[in-house]
């Protein structure tokens, strides 16, 4: 391997810097995990897990196990919502990726941009929009459908149902899986399919016997990842699952912390987390295997142009309808309903409504100090945590690829593990820590920064992949020119790593700005962020203000979307 010889030059500064990074990372990921595991075994429930009156006990797990009413509902509901979502998402995302990448679908490039839309917007904003669209009584779509079909009463669509939850979760998840599948489709050597055609196989046979089996390992990994992401989904179980009386695991943890009556039950929350963490870790190992399996199929690729795309022919109209339907539901209608509601309140659009136009919601928003505070907090926390995580990720990447330290494997596993930790669990763990250790962080934005920064997997993976591309000889040449380790990192490695890390930073910034679960769990008056403010406004029934804030978020996201058009992944197939 390329990493061997660079290790020899690893002197004291290197060890110092890298160890420090590893320790911080371990703190961010492992401490919450450990605290959580301990908390599950501390009781009785009246005390904080680490208060002196608390003691070791199996009470929490026993209570969970005996609470058949809870298990009997939470497990099937969670299982159903996860399975349904993963299936819907996989099918939709594969169809979208296929249409955009491999067919002569018109407008593929704009479709690409719109498909990314839900990825950039906080999920609870999307949830609000879908509730406005598909709420059983006044939802736009229901009003329209009732008028169209001559129905009375409520419905026909009820978003507050298992079906509604699955639909919304699938819409949220589809862009992730779409991006991953797009990469898989791209990485396939076109000659593989051409060879099949040249062997006399028709397009359909080629698809069935070559394309699909070759893609399978590459499809498995995104699907497992999707499962993990749905499992940690919290916003939709809260906003759609709860009114539908669905008991989804992520929401249940939150409920134990904020029960309708009584005190927060940390032990019970930890016990529930414990079970699901186990499932998530299991999935991660399957994922790892799937990814390794996928490498087996990497083949020599000659220089190849992506060949002319499949002609849809008579399938063009159904394909366009599918794409437009999807985009309407995932991006266009949600944006429209929010913009409209911000000016006209929550009414069904009509010409009669036009005179009621009012920008009052924006005025009241701008005069609300929570808006400015939330905006400031969101920007600070999202950018700082993205920075911390990017720097740590780069350091961990260095440890993994460039050293032969004995614990580098553990670092890899640890950073990877962080994907499997639902954010509601991190919120809970950090909450327990800082309630127990009162150092004045609780209730400030700094606790958010600490909690947000556990997402090390993305940057570490990015750094690792980028570092593998940078040949160690480039560093050896620097060392041979007389530069020390730090200088070499600063002058050679970091500049080469910068583009990859910049995109990782962007991604984490977006994740941080969308974050809702952690800031809600850790919310105080001072550390409010935009996504939490949306929720507060929505809960208070201020639909116009909610929509106005959502509209502002969408406006902020638009330039990012337009930039996304220029991303290599958006470009390469269409040119």
């Amino acid at each position: 391997m390329a990493a061997t010889s660079a290790t020899r030059s690893l002197g004291r500064p290197a060890i110092l810097v890298l160890s420090a990074a590893a320790i911080v990372a371990a703190y961010l990921v492992l401490v919450p995990l450990c605290v959580l595991l301990f908390s599950a075994f501390r009781g009785p429930p009246d005390y904080l897990p680490f208060e002196s009156q608390a003691r070791w006990s199996l009470e929490n797990l026993a209570a969970l196990y005996h609470n058949t009413a809870l298990l009997g509902r939470m497990l099937p509901d969670t299982l159903m919502s996860v399975a349904g979502t993963v299936i819907c998402t996989s099918v939709t995302a594969f169809a979208l990726a296929w249409l955009v990448e491999r067919t002569d679908m018109p407008g593929a490039r704009w479709a690409f941009v719109l498909i990314l839309f839900p990825l950039l917007i906080p999920v609870n904003i999307l949830a609000v929009a879908w509730i406005y669209l598909m709420g059983p009584n006044a939802g736009w779509l229901n009003v329209a459908l009732r008028a169209l079909l001559g129905l009375e009463g409520s419905g026909p669509i009820n978003i507050f149902s298992m079906g509604g939850l699955i639909l919304c979760q699938s819409l949220v998840l589809t862009p992730y899986v779409f991006l991953l599948l797009l990469a898989t489709l791209r990485s396939m050597n076109p000659a593989m399919e051409e060879a099949s055609a040249a062997s006399g196989a028709s397009q359909f046979t080629t698809f069935r016997r070559v394309t699909l089996p070759m893609l399978l390992p590459g499809i498995l990994a995104p699907v497992i990842l999707a499962t993990i992401i749905v499992l940690e989904q919290f916003e939709l179980p809260l906003m759609i699952g709860l009114p539908a009386r669905l008991n989804i695991f992520a929401y249940r943890i939150y409920y134990e912390l904020n029960p309708a009556d009584g005190l927060p039950n940390y032990g019970a929350a930890a016990a529930i987390s414990f079970v699901f963490l186990f499932v998530a870790v299991l999935l991660l190992f399957v994922y790892n295997r799937a990814v390794r399996h996928a490498d087996r199929f990497t083949t020599i690729t000659g220089k190849a142009y992506r060949q002319k795309q499949l002609k849809l022919g008579r399938w063009k109209l159904p394909a366009i309808l599918f794409l437009c339907g999807y985009l309407a539901l995932a991006a266009v209608l949600p944006a429209t309903v929010l913009v409209w509601t911000s000016f006209f309140g929550f009414t069904v659009p009509s010409l009669d409504a036009l005179p009621t136009y009012s920008a009052a919601a924006y005025r009241s928003l701008f005069s609300d100090h929570r808006f400015w505070l939330g905006l400031r907090n969101t920007l600070i926390v999202a950018s700082l945590s993205a920075l911390v995580v990017t720097v740590l990720g780069a350091a961990l990447g260095l440890i993994i690829t460039r050293t032969r330290l004995r614990w580098r494997g553990a670092v890899d596993v640890m950073s990877f593990l962080s994907i499997g930790i639902p954010s509601v669990i991190v919120g809970l763990a950090v909450m327990i820590i800082f309630l127990t250790v009162p150092i004045g962080v609780y209730g400030t934005i700094w606790i958010l920064l600490i909690a947000y920064s556990y997402r090390l997997a993305t940057t570490t993976r990015t750094a690792r992949a980028a570092l593998m591309q940078i040949h160690t000889e480039l560093e050896e040449a620097s060392t041979a020119s007389g530069a020390g380790w730090l200088t070499t990192q600063r002058r050679i490695v970091l500049p080469l790593l910068a583009p990859a890390m910049a995109s990782a930073f962007m991604l984490l910034f977006i994740i941080g700005a969308r974050e809702f679960t952690i800031p809600l769990v850790l919310a105080s008056d001072d550390n409010i962020v935009i996504s939490v403010l949306i929720w507060r406004l929505y809960q208070a029934g201020q639909s116009a203000e909610t929509a106005a804030l959502a509209t502002l978020v969408i406006l902020a996201v638009l330039p990012v979307l337009l930039l996304a058009r220029l991303l290599p992944i958006a470009r390469s197939s269409m040119d």
Binding site: A191, E194, A195, A197, A198, S199, G200, A201, T205, A304
Partner: protein, 366 residues
């Protein structure tokens, strides 16, 4: 068997008008023969081949395989790839990693309609594998093959359904130099044994010489010269063909007298050496004289005859193992390269004479 008539192809890109990648290419291959398209990188060889396969749709021109028109842009005839009676070997081999060797090779039979009996598929697949010497590896997963083995599997897969036409796109270019030489020989034998009509694309003149009955030299989308390998090598019609087909000295000069198909006296630029060679031009024409390094006699002593003899000094010599390449400075604009055996009497700085065989030199109008 294969006829390509006035094939043209341009790649549309969004903005600029693109030059033709394939420009008026015509050639034909008789039954059972192998035709090589030879040219530098980017000259349009692969594109031509892909038009024949149907992987690319030509803008104009006709392609006929076995007498049947498979593509005629003017009459909007275009037979899809999978209906054409072809077998193709890809540059990257395109061995499907999710099948074993047998699965890969039997694939063309299993997708053909009507589908042959299981036993027949088995027999024909094993026969194809035997032809390439891979019969013992039928159960090997495709991911566990060396480059040479992948190449054989790709070839077996291309011939298993006994196509009328075999298309090969630089099949040896992914192999290392030594293996390439062995495989070149084997490929030549196999193509001859199977007796299939083949179109072979390469940028390596040695491959083309070894494999092809006829070959076409391509430059910027056009076939600039066509013929059997020996003629092409001996009588290139352009300096491009001359230098692409092997090492060549191209010496500028001018016809002094004679010519018109007979012997002419050519004055070489520089020191004004004179050569008597058969040339087509008329006195006063500027010409290039093509002299292959191996067609020149080198001697340390002054030869008896003095026509077609140049004298000079050894400027440099490069030891190549079996041969030595001498660079002789004899007053022409560039030193003349001569290959010969190692000879202790020939050292840098030494005075030498070079005799040129006029029958082996070609004169090209400039």
């Amino acid at each position: 068997m294969l006829e390509v008539i006035e094939l043209c192809k341009t790649f549309q890109t969004a903005d600029r008008a693109q030059p033709r990648v394939v420009d008026n290419v015509s050639f034909s291959i008789p039954d059972g023969q192998c035709y090589a398209l030879l040219g530098p990188s980017g000259c349009g060889k692969t594109t031509t081949l892909r038009c024949v396969a149907g992987l690319e749709q030509a803008d104009s021109g006709i392609v006929r395989i076995g007498g049947a028109v498979v593509s005629d842009a003017a009459r909007a005839v275009f037979m899809p790839v999978h209906e054409r009676p072809i077998g193709m070997v890809f540059q990257s081999y395109a061995i499907w990693p999710h099948m074993d060797v047998f699965g890969n090779v039997s694939y063309p039979l299993t997708v053909s309609r009507p589908r042959p009996e299981k036993a027949e598929i088995r027999d024909r697949t094993m026969q194809a594998l035997t032809q390439v010497g891979m019969q013992d590896m039928a159960d090997r997963p495709a991911t566990r093959l060396s480059g040479g083995q992948q190449q054989r599997v790709a070839l077996a897969r291309a011939v298993v359904r006994q196509p009328k036409l075999l298309l090969l796109d630089e099949p040896l270019s992914n192999l290392d130099a030594r293996l390439r030489e062995t495989m070149r020989q084997e490929l030549s034998d196999m193509i001859a044994r199977i007796g299939v009509t083949a179109l072979y694309v390469t940028h390596d003149q040695a491959e083309a010489f070894a494999l092809a009955h006829r070959m076409g030299v391509m430059d910027r989308g056009r076939i600039v010269q066509e013929g059997d390998p020996r003629t092409l090598y001996a009588a290139p019609q352009s300096t491009f063909a001359a230098s692409f087909l092997g090492a060549a000295n191209i010496v500028a000069g001018c016809i002094e007298s004679g010519g018109g198909g007979g012997v002419a006296v050519v004055v070489l630029d520089g020191a004004g050496h004179r050569l008597a060679i058969v040339a087509a031009g008329k006195p006063g024409d500027a010409v290039d004289v093509v002299i292959r390094p191996e067609d020149v006699q080198l001697s340390a002593a002054k030869p008896e005859r003095d026509d077609n003899v140049l004298s000079g000094k050894i400027a440099r010599l490069t030891f190549l193992g079996s041969l030595v390449e001498y660079h002789i400075d004899c007053g022409t604009p560039h030193a003349v390269r001569v290959s010969g055996r190692a000879d202790p009497g020939l050292a840098p700085g030494g005075l030498v004479w070079i005799c040129i065989d006029p029958k082996r030199a070609a004169v090209l109008a400039r």
